[in-house]
Each structure stands twice: as C-alpha cells, then as structure tokens.
C-alpha cells in the first residue's frame, strides 16, 4: 500500500514524466539556441531544465555542479572558468576549423561557410566526443552525464541560425538525457520502393510510425503494369503499413507513366523544343494531350488503383518542364504535335518558331509571342490537372475511402514557376471550392537554400488565397541541394528540425520527400520537431498544453485531461486533440485505451466498459486499441469495421466511435 502511495505522489509531482520541457539561455544574446531547442518542442523559461551559458557570459548563479547533479543539462560554449571547472580547458594552440566530422555520421560532409579559429581544448576523459575537426580530430562538441543531469560543451557557438556549425546538437542532448516533451504522428512521406526492395517491411513499418509518419506516398509508376513479384511486394508493404496504423497513397507522377509505357508507346512521347523525346532526368514524359494516350493512361490508372488496397492518391507535379524555362529548349515541354497543333489553331503560330533564332518570333527577339504561349501552357497545365482530378473522383465512386492530394509546386514565393513550368496556383487553388483534395505545396528547388523562415511566409501567402486552410499542406524536400548551402548539402539535424517545426506551425500537414533520404540520426526526433505546440507550462501539478494540431504528450502513467479520465494514450504518451488542455496524474487506468489513432482526434472520454471518441479523416482512419474491443458503434449504429489485430479501419469523414471491451 505504501509503495502505491509513493508511486501516486511521484506521478503527481512529476507531470510530463521524464520529458524535458524548458530551456533558458543566459545573457541578452541567445544566438541560435532558441531556434535549436524550440524546434524540438522545448519552451523558453526564466529557469530551464536546459541551461545554456553562451560564450563570454558570466552567470550569476554559482552552484552549477549541484544543479547538474539534480538534473539540469548545462550547455557551455567555448572557454570560460565554468567550462574549466567541468574539465573543458582551452590550450594555447589554436586551429582553423572549416570541416567537421560528427561521430554519428562520419561520412556526412559538414562544412562551415566561414572558417573559425578556435583553441584546441582538453576534454575530460569520460566525456563523449560528439563532433571534431575533420582533419586533425580536435574535439569540438563533447559531453558527459553527471548525476541526473549532464554537461554539453561546444568549442564555438552554434551560429546565428542554430545549425550553422553543429547540426546534431539536439541528438547530442538526447544522448545526454534530453527527452522531447511532445510527439506528433501526422507526417506524410514519399516512398520509392527502388531504395527499399530488399528490406524487411515488418521491421521498417513500426520504425516509420515511431518516426511520426502517418502515410507513405508510394511511387506507383513501378506498379503500373501488373507483375507478380513486384505486386506481392507492394501488397506486403501496404499490409505492414496498415498493421502499424500507416496509410498508403498511390503517388502518380503524370505525365510520366512508367518505363514500360514509354517503351511501348513511342508515338505518345512528349517532345522538347529541340523535338527530342522528353526523357528528362528520371522522368519519361508522355503526351497526355493526345486523346488516345489519355484514354490508355486513364485505363491504367483505374487498374492500378483497383489492384491494391490504397488509402489515397497523390497526383503530383502535373505540369511541364523545366526549371530552366524557355531559355533551355533542350528541356522545354510540351512541344508535342498535339499541343503545337492546338496552339497553332488558336493563335496561328507554331510554338517551335519561338525557339528558332531565324524567326521574327524568336523569344530573344520578341518577348510577347513567348509570353502568350506561356500563358496558354499554364492554362493547359490547369486543364490537365482538372481532367485528372475528375478521373480520380470517378474512381472514388467505387472506392469511397480514397483521399486525394494534389502536389503542386509553389509559385507564390518563387513567382518564376509559372513561366518556367506552367504551375499557376491562382488557377489551381480555386478548384478546392469544387473538389475535395489536399493541396500539397511543393517547395521549389530554386528556394531550397533559403532558411526555415520561408515556411511561415509561404503559409501566409496561401492562407490569403483560400478559405480551405485545413486542406493546405507543405512538402519539404530533404535532398542534396544544388545551391551553395552550409553546413550540410542535405538538411539534417537542427536545420531539418527547424524546417519541420516552422512548417508544422504554418500548415495543417507536412510531407517529407522522401522516406529514404531522411538520415537515420534524424528519425527519433522527427515527431518532436513536427509537433505544433505554441505554449506549454507546468502549474500546480498540471501540465497545461496549447496544441495547434493533435499531439502526443510524453507522460508516465494514467492521466486526467481537463479533469476527466482520459482513454487516449499509452503508458508513455497522452494523445490530445488540438486546443488548450490540462493534464494531471490519475489514479486509475481506463478499462479500454486508444493507443494510437491515424486521424484527427476531436474528443475522447472513458465510459462504462469502454471508451468513446470522435475523429475526422480524409482517408480511412486507423485506430489501435490496447485490446480488441468486443463491440463498436459508429455514429450510434452498431458497426463491424475491418480489424487487423487490435487495429480497426474506420470510415473516412467525421464520426463518433463507441468501443466497449
């Protein structure tokens, strides 16, 4: 009995379990630390569980050893008496640093935009070195645990953005005991099986879910034509995902259909302005203006959707090439005979003339004819998008659970996209008024080098263009950028988390391109970075959380939410709907718990013998219970949803579910 009382007291006085909620940066110039720490959900406070002492700051507090022993994670920059007292001593030798090696990913090239001269430090023997200079291996980031807390030391400040020098500071803090307070499980991720053909899907699916992924958008062109072996792979992939509450979308990249389709139909191949077949990078583009081609592709799409248990379709990048615009005729599309003929009929001009240096209409000689053709081209892209949305909607009649996403490159932030590739949001976005789809805004390659702050700006521009804010999503490309970017060519660590965090704050849904390019070191902190919690604080034994979207709060044991027993969550996480909520410890665990939900949780309550919750979802909802419910009612009507173990597949839309044990 006594031990039970102790456990209860522990639960009451340690809300939020072992998670780290707050940070504080000493001095008046916090540098990049707020960006680093808030990107994984930590809240700025007057006194932090993480205390950062920037270089050159002499903190008033003196008993740091005791605070660290009691659980504080102390972060020290550069040389200081405090750093010396914890064993990090600057020597007289100095070194110019430009290349850094992180021990987690020694192959990752970390290059600083500006070289920096730093002293060579002596670090304590028991300290773990996290990062060092690439060539002479001088320690640059190191740390060790002491008592319940830890010390993290950096040879130099992290830089103004937080990710300029040491991308993996959040990971280093996690290794020293930091547990991020919030977890979101709402990410979408693009997936190409070409990179995962021999993995154990049952090993990967739970890892994806733990990384916060709610849906995979699977490159469907590999499965356009039936093939027993590859079809079997895709079925296993979908089953493994569903077992782990992950939805699976067919990602279509029209006008690329498939490699075999390209081979089989040379007559329908798209042409560039040099009249070559339009095989540009990996995409082999088809002429969908041609009605015979359209009919054949439409038939293939129906077959593809019908052969597999998809949860949705993503109609992606349906416009033209290329990012170099009309200035590179070798990559400019469409220039197939159907398009040329249509334009000639409308304007009396063969668009090929626009690229002919001998023509009076050559674009370098006369801008107006090209501008007119680019207008026609943007309108053609919109017509094609509408046409294919119509095709999917027809398929939905027989597959009502299907969600639809339209991936469309941003042309509001980078306004050159309309001219370059024919993408025109002003024409596409109004289709949300007639059609039910998610408008997934793709970050164009031309702005991949800009910082995370671009996402709030992009969000602001789109929010003023539509009433359907809940239908806006953003796609972050996690790839090697062609621009001069630092410190890593591909976003990782602090930069990735900042991107995700700011994007999650501005958009209802965030998508990552792509599953295989996300570096393993980043996976554990993706859920923390994608959680949108503007405010949280502890008060009188309660944890007050203001969440913009559904969020999981790290919490040990049973919980009351807003004073009521709460059945949504596990022993480690409480699942909350969006809005302001108060969590406190509860004495008893509900008889039936909803451990995971791939849908928007609107409400939940424990009822006699079970639980009730409401949700909304654009695709089928996937609900994981602690044990299989004996009975279901959906919207007050007895129901028998398909079950996979403890997981129930619930209908698309907004519903109330009553489940009893």
């Amino acid at each position: 009995m006594r031990s039970h009382t102790s456990l209860l007291l522990l639960a009451v006085f340690c809300p939020c379990g072992a998670a780290t909620l707050t940070f504080h940066v000493a001095g008046t110039d916090p540098g990049g630390w707020p960006a680093i720490l808030s990107s994984i959900g930590l809240q700025n406070a007057a006194r932090g569980e993480i205390e950062v002492i920037p270089s050159g700051i002499q903190p008033e507090e003196t008993d740091w050893a005791q605070r660290v022993e009691s659980g504080t994670i102390l972060v020290l920059e550069g040389a200081s008496p405090l750093a010396t007292s914890f064993g990090f001593r600057a020597g007289t030798k100095r070194i110019s640093v430009r290349s850094v090696e992180d021990v987690r990913a020694p192959e990752l090239r970390i290059v600083w935009e500006q070289a920096l001269d730093v002293p060579v430090f002596e670090v304590p023997k028991d300290a773990r070195v996290f990062a060092r200079e690439r060539w002479d291996k001088t320690p640059l980031v190191a740390g060790y645990k002491r008592g319940s807390g830890a010390i993290l030391w950096l040879a130099a400040p992290p830089g103004p953005h937080g990710y300029d020098r040491f991308p993996y500071l959040p990971q280093a803090l996690a290794e020293l005991g930091l547990e991020a307070p919030f977890r979101s499980s709402r990410l979408w991720a693009f997936f190409d099986s070409a990179y995962r053909s021999r993995v154990d899907l049952d090993y990967f699916a739970p890892r994806w879910r733990q990384a916060g992924i709610s849906a995979l958008h699977v490159a469907a062109w590999h499965y356009w034509e039936p093939d027993p072996q590859s079809d079997e792979y895709l079925r296993r992939l979908i089953e493994a995902c569903h077992r782990n509450a992950i939805q699976v979308y067919a990602w279509i990249e029209l006008p690329h259909v498939s490699d075999r389709f390209w081979e089989q139909h040379p007559e329908w191949r798209e042409k560039t302005a040099l009249l070559q077949d339009a095989q540009l990078d990996w995409r082999k583009l088809m002429n969908l203006t041609n009605r015979a081609a359209f009919t054949e592709v439409s038939r293939g799409l129906r077959d593809l959707i019908g052969r597999f248990d998809w949860d949705g379709v993503n109609l992606a990048e349906l416009y033209f090439e290329s990012l170099e615009g009309h200035e590179n005729p070798a990559r400019f599309t469409p220039m197939n005979s159907d398009v040329r003929s249509e334009y000639r009929s409308a304007s009396g001009i063969d668009p090929l003339d626009l690229f002919n240096p001998k023509s009076e209409r050559y674009y370098a000689r006369s801008a107006a004819p090209m501008a007119q053709f680019l207008e026609f081209r943007a309108d053609l892209a919109r017509r094609q998008q509408a046409e294919w949305i119509g095709q999917i909607e027809e398929i939905r009649r027989s597959h009502p659970w299907l969600d639809l996403a339209l991936t469309h490159v941003d042309d509001r932030f980078d306004t050159s996209m309309r001219e370059k590739i024919g993408a025109d949001t002003s024409k596409t976005l109004p289709m949300l008024n007639q059609h039910d789809f998610t408008f997934l805004i793709e970050d164009p390659a031309t702005i991949w080098h800009l910082g995370p702050q671009r996402y709030p700006q992009i969000a602001a521009r789109y929010q003023s263009m539509t009433q359907h804010l809940e239908k806006l999503a953003i796609d972050i490309n996690i790839v090697e950028r062609y621009q001069d970017v630092y410190p890593t060519k591909q976003q990782t660590g602090s930069e990735l988390f900042a991107l995700l965090h700011l994007a999650s704050g501005g958009f209802h849904r965030v998508t990552l391109y792509f599953e295989n390019s996300i570096l393993p070191a980043d996976l554990p902190l993706l859920p923390a970075a994608s959680a949108a919690v503007p405010r949280a604080e502890r008060s009188s034994g309660k944890l007050m959380v203001n969440a913009r979207e559904n969020v999981g709060v790290v919490w040990s044991g049973p919980a009351l939410v807003d004073g009521r027993p709460w059945p949504a969550g596990s022993d480690r996480v409480v699942l909350l709907p969006s809005g302001q909520h108060a969590i406190e410890a509860a004495a008893l665990k509900p008889v039936l718990r909803l451990l995971d939900l791939n849908a928007e949780l609107d409400s939940a309550s424990a009822i006699a013998g079970g639980m009730e919750f409401s949700y909304s979802s654009n695709a089928r909802a996937l609900a994981v219970f602690e044990s299989p419910p004996a009975s279901f009612q959906i919207d007050g009507v007895k129901a028998y949803p398909p079950m996979i173990g403890n997981l129930a597949m619930l209908p698309r839309g907004q519903h109330v579910v009553t489940a009893t044990k």
Partner: protein, 609 residues
C-alpha cells in the same frame, strides 16, 4: 555394440577435430543466426561484425552480414560487406552480382557497370541483362545530348549532362571534354573543375589534374574547396603548379593573389607584382607583402589581423581583428592583439579596454600578458602618472658601477604640455671616473640628486620636447668647486623609433638633444642606434652604433662607439651587455687614449603608477 563403438569413435574424432581447428567465430555466429531467426537484426549484425573481426578471411560471414544489413535498409554498409566478400572469394559470381546491384542502388553506377561488364563477359545471363539495363540508358542519353549539342552547341546543361553520362559509362575522354566545355561556359562553377580534376587523375594526367584541383580549391565555394583538398597532396603547392592552375583558370583571383603572396614570401617581388597587376582592381589587395596562405589553414580574419599587426599595417590589423572578434567573441587572443594594435596606434583608452577583456582569458599566458599590459598602460590614462626607472650599469673601462634613475610624477591634462616634478639620481659607486684626472667625464656621473619641476610636450611621431628647472644636490663636490646645491636647468628633445623588418630583424634609435646648465651651459646630442635580430620573445642580438657630440667641443662629449650587444629580458628586468670599441673625436685636453674598449652590463627596471 559395434555401432556404439563407432559412435564413440566419431565423437572422439569430432572433439579432436574441434580441438585441432577450433572455430573462433562459432559461438558468435550461433548468436547471430539465433537473433536473425527472430528478426532481431541489430543484435545479429553486432554478432556478425564481431565474428568477422575474429575470422576476417571468411567470406561467408561477410555475405550473411551483408544480407542482414539489407534487411535493415543499410544498403551502403551491405555493399561494402559484399565488396569484402568479393575480395575474399573472387570466384563467387553471386556475391559480385549483389555487389554490383548495390553499387547501382547507392549511386556508384560506374563501379556497378564495370562489375556487370566483367561478369557478362563470362556469360552470366543476369549480368548480361543488368549490364544492358545500365548501359542502354547511358548510351541513349549520350546520343540524345550529343544531338542536342549539335542543335545548340552552347547549351550548358547539355554539356554537363553529357559529361555525367559519359563518366558513368567510363568514356573518360568524352566526359572530360564536356566537363571542360561546361565549365568554360560557366567559369564560376568550380565544382566542374573538381569533376575534371577527378577525371584527369583517372586518365593518368597528374599535372592537369593537379591544376584543375588546385584551381577548384581556391576561390570557389568552401565545400568544393574542401573536396578538392581531399584529392590534392597535403603539401603546399609549388609555384609552377600555381602557374599551371592559372593557365587553366586565369580568372581565379584568389589563386592569383595567393601566387603573388607566395612570390613575395620567396623574395620574388617583381613576379609578385606582375601577378597583382593582373588582378582586377577590386580583387587586388591594399597591401600585398603578406605571407602566403597554406591550403591546410585557410585565410581568416584573425590570421590576416595578426599578419597586418606584425607588418605594421595598423588600420588593416584593426579591421581584420575586429572582424575576427565578431566572428568569435570568445577569442581572447584576438582581444589581446586588438589591445596591442590600439596601443601602437596611441589609442590607449581603447587599448586598455581590450587588455582588460583579454586579461580574463582562461589561457594563463594570454591573461598574464594582457594583465601586465593593462597594468602598464592604465596609469597613462590617469591624471597623475608616476614613472620610476633605474638603470645601474657596470663598465669595465671605468671599473665602476654607475647608477641612473628618475622618479617623475606628471600631471596629465587635456592641454598638450604636461607639468611634472622630478627627482633624478646620477652617480657612481667608486667615483672612478674622476681617477687620474682633474676633469670629470660628466656624462657618466654627476654624483648628484637633482630635484626639479618641468614641462613635457606631447609625443609626436616619437619626438618629444621637455624642459626642467631645479636644484642639484651633490653628494661629492668636484675639486675646485664649492656648494653642495647648485641650480640645474636642463631641457631638450628626445626622439625614439623602432622599425621592425621581415624575419624578425629590427632597427632602433634613441636620440637625445640636451641642454644642461651645469655643464657650462653645454648642449649635447646623444645618438644610440641598434640594428639586430630578435630571437624569440625575450632575446635580441644587435650591433651598436653610438655617437655623442656637443656644442662646446669637449673631448668627453665627442665620441663614437660601435660593437655587438645582447639584450634579454627576465621579467621584470631587462639586461643589456654591450661590447664596445670607441674613439674620441676630440682629443684636445683628452687625458685618455684616443681609442677605448668597454664592456657595459646594464639592468633596466621601470614601472608606472
């Protein structure tokens, strides 16, 4: 019975065989396979890795490890294990195929194509198909981009695409040709030079490769420079290598500037200037006699600041050091250098501020130097400044010890002329200078304590004027004179300058023009000059060039001296030892020989409050 016996023999043989050839990896492999059966891949991978370390020559362990890595998506690690298995067992075509497929998947297409090509030649049907799948798109792509270039020869992306495809197809010459063409269309894209250098290395064109990589390592974006650095030898490039690189990349200003610095360092000023004149105006440095930058230590503000300070380009030094301080506000060494830079520029208020900041350095050497400079300098900013100095000197010529000292308290006003009170002591221990003659060499010992008040002007380019009026209290009264106290008026101008030259060479001069009433209102000019070299921080070897002349033509006031000397510092004292050969320029009334030798050993001590 026979069966039992046979079984017993078998068991014994097995035990014997096991004892003779024990499998060092046996238990680890058991552990690995057990973990694999229950899909505990991390555990299995760990055990396989340990087993491979214990038995590194066994290809089968590498294969099993590779297949397990594949389950967890570790394609690159799996590829590397298959590579090792292929090395251990070159006859295993299946392993080679696995390796080639993974090379293709992990963007090592060239290697994949090579392995498929080797295997298809032995008739392996999978390799034949795989090779065709890899080669055909490359073939077609090359043909397509060649055609595009026929239609549009200046198309940058066509050149670049063609080069990439040709490189993947092992058509190195074609690839190099189009990387070069692409780079010529966009010379700022020095990443293409990196590709070119890599290709030329493969084509066994080391000098061309070196030129391309050297050009890529300078003036481009830092990431390209770092990659080029990996491919270059670790030594610093030779002049001809710079020249080759400039032939390839003549618009590379950073490269040209560095070659100029290198020429300067080697003493080839004309060649340096030639390179500098070839730079566009905006790219030319304001000063160019700086040291070359080593590729292993890229130029930075701190280094440039230190070099400028060393060379005496103080405005540049301030600019670079402030930039370095902004870059790393915790660099106490930069703070110290800023202190010295301001000190040299006579902005002691700023200097004191930086010395004070640097004195908090955790590096004891920096903190000590800064604290000392702060202590020395901060009094100069106070209204009342007291300076005390003493200079005892032993002279072998006079076999005596002379003692010169002064305590002076100065009132520092905004007005450029500062009043002061002074107490001097000028004397010797034995009175030796008076021996053998009735004429005193008064420049050596006045045997007096002189109290006075004076005015000192501001220092201007090392030049300062002063005048002092007081009373000399003589503790020894020369023969023929009376009165212990005599009026003393003196004044003059002082000039001091130090020139620091390359290679730690220096030249300094201390010149005093003095009027002294007590010396029959004589005016003397002392000029002490030293040229020499510093050896480390605290030791200098030099040559003395001293001269004294006066207005009245006294023999003792007209001498020249020369000879070697050494000066060293044992804080807070500075010792000098001079070996002098001298000559009197006026020998009328001179009781001594016209030439003399003297060894003078002196100790200098001073402090200011």
């Amino acid at each position: 019975m026979a069966k039992s016996f046979l079984g017993f023999i078998c068991i014994v043989c097995n035990i014997w065989a096991w004892q003779v050839t024990p499998d060092p990896a046996f238990s680890l492999l058991n552990q690995a396979y057990a973990a694999l059966r229950v899909k505990h891949y991390e555990e299995a991978i760990g055990a396989f890795r340990q087993a491979a370390a214990l038995d590194p020559g066994r290809a089968s362990i590498r294969k099993d490890l590779a297949y397990t890595l594949l389950k967890t998506g570790e394609s690159e690690a799996a590829r590397d294990q298959f590579a090792e298995a292929m090395r251990l067992d070159p006859a295993d075509d299946q392993v080679a195929l696995e390796y080639a497929f993974l090379c293709y998947e992990t963007k090592k297409q060239v290697e994949a194509r090579r392995v498929f090509d080797r295997l298809r030649r032995s008739g392996n049907p999978t390799a034949i198909e795989a090779f065709e799948n890899v080669d055909r798109p490359l073939r077609e792509g090359i043909a397509r981009w060649k055609q595009a270039l026929q239609l549009d020869p200046e198309n940058f992306s066509a050149h670049e695409e063609l080069a990439k495809l040709a490189e993947q197809r092992d058509e190195l010459e074609l690839a190099a040709e189009h990387y070069l063409a692409a780079w010529k269309l966009r010379p700022a894209r020095r990443d293409l030079l990196l590709d070119l250098g890599r290709l030329w290395q493969q084509q066994n064109r080391p000098e061309d490769a070196h030129a391309a990589l050297l050009a890529a390592s300078r003036g481009g974006e830092p990431r390209v420079a770092e990659q080029a650095r990996e491919l270059l030898p670790s030594r610093y490039p030779y002049v001809y290598e710079f020249e080759n690189a400039l032939k390839l990349d003549p618009s590379n200003d950073a490269l040209r500037r560095e070659l100029a610095y290198l020429h300067l360092e080697m003493g080839n000023r004309a060649a340096a200037e030639q390179q500098l004149h070839a730079l566009p105006q905006a790219a030319a440095p304001a000063r160019f006699d700086s040291v070359p930058r080593s590729p292993s230590e890229p130029p930075d503000n701190k280094m440039l600041g230190e070099q400028s300070l060393e060379k005496g380009y103080m405005n540049d030094a301030l600019k670079y050091l402030h930039a370095a301080n902004e870059n790393d506000p915790s660099d106490y060494e930069v703070m110290l250098k800023l202190g010295w830079a301001y000190n040299i520029l006579k902005d002691d208020r700023e200097a004191v501020r930086w010395f004070e900041r640097a004195s908090h350095s955790p590096d004891e050497a920096i903190a000590s130097e800064a604290s000392k400079a702060y202590r020395n300098l901060s009094p100069s900013l106070r209204r009342l400044r007291t300076t005390v100095w003493a200079f005892p000197t032993i002279s072998t010529r006079w076999r005596d010890t002379f003692f010169y000292s002064q305590a002076k308290t100065e009132l520092r006003l905004a007005f450029p002329v500062h009043p002061y009170v002074s107490l001097r002591f000028i004397g010797d221990v034995r009175g030796a200078v008076r021996m053998g003659a009735n004429i005193s060499p008064q420049n050596l010992s006045e045997s007096s304590v002189i109290a006075g008040i004076g005015l000192a002007g501001p220092a201007w380019h090392g030049l300062m004027g002063w005048f002092e009026a007081g009373e000399a209290l003589r503790y020894q009264i020369p023969r023929g004179e009376t009165g212990r106290a005599v009026p003393d008026y003196r004044g003059g101008i002082t000039y001091a300058a130090v020139k620091r030259l390359p290679r730690r060479l220096f030249a300094e001069t201390n010149d005093d023009g003095v009027f002294i009433s007590r010396f029959d209102k004589d005016s003397l000019l002392y000029s002490q000059n030293r040229t020499g070299r510093s050896l480390g921080e605290n030791l200098q070897l030099y040559w003395n060039w001293n001269a004294t002349v006066d207005a009245k033509g006294e023999y003792w006031a007209n001498t020249v001296e020369t000879g070697p000397g050494v000066r060293f510092r044992l804080n807070p004292l500075q010792f000098t030892v001079n070996f002098l050969r001298g000559a009197y320029l006026v020998n009328q009334s001179n009781p001594y020989r016209p030439n003399f030798n003297d060894v003078r050993i002196g100790v200098w001590y001073a402090f200011t409050h």
